[in-house]
Amino acid sequence: MKVAITSTGNSHDSLIDPRFGRCAYFVIYDTESKVIAFIPNKARDAEEGAGPQAVQQVASHEVKKIVSGEFGIKIKPLLDSLKIQMIVVKDPDKRIMDIMEMLDH
């Protein structure tokens, strides 16, 4: 299953990005094949509508879950209707590798 994680950078050591719509990178992690991809968030600098654009981008990778620091009120219903699960991690010190390790439980 594919999971997206919002990331501040493009390495395993990067910290989780607390913002969903304007995060720097999306990490697309396949929990079965363990394949990981860092994808720059195209919506990052969008003047408006960053959230919905980011949702589109992530949804195109067919992820089933998204891990981020928060999801805006406009994002939640979108993800709900796409049946993508939201996982909110409030700890800003979590690195991408920590999240992947947790997902591998």
Partner: protein, 204 residues
Amino acid sequence: MSPRSKRLRKVINPPLVKGFKPYGPDAGKGITEAVNLHFEEYEALRLCDYDKYNHHEASGIMGVSRPTFTRIYSSARQKIALAFVEGRQISIEGGKVYFDSDWYHCINCKCFFNNIEKDQKVEYCPLCGSNKVIEAESEVESSPEEIREDECADFCVCPQCGYEQPHHHGRPCSHQFCPSCNVHLKRKARPNFQQFRHGKGKKH
């Protein structure tokens, strides 16, 4: 744990018109872009301010959680204020009927997550796999300060003897009776609402 069923947000009474236009010599000279009021925002406003249901009742009627209802309702009011102040048109359309998922909290890894499969019981944390999951009190975003919305700033007063009681949304004053005179009560604005709230229970 008994997961509540996933909720369907529904609009029961569609609006009579498609929107509103400002008029007068200066109408249309400012920002011409219409303010788009979603169906569910229209519905929230209708239930609260027209039908006089309190937030608790209205959220039940619309099939959404209280925090969600509060959010829709305040968004409706902000949009209408925007249109009024800036002299913009209001179009009532869009929004949709969609599922509003329930939220859970993992005590082990402290994450919050929603349940997208209404028929499946939430037993494990999707992040760390722990089974120490509880239903989250509300959605993750903090809801606006909790107010007793069944008690508004006004009160019902007896036109004969001056007897007063707090006015409740959804209970028209004219359906209330004065205990001593047995006449219909009338509505009156409360000037010192804050004071009243803090000194609740003390009758003067």
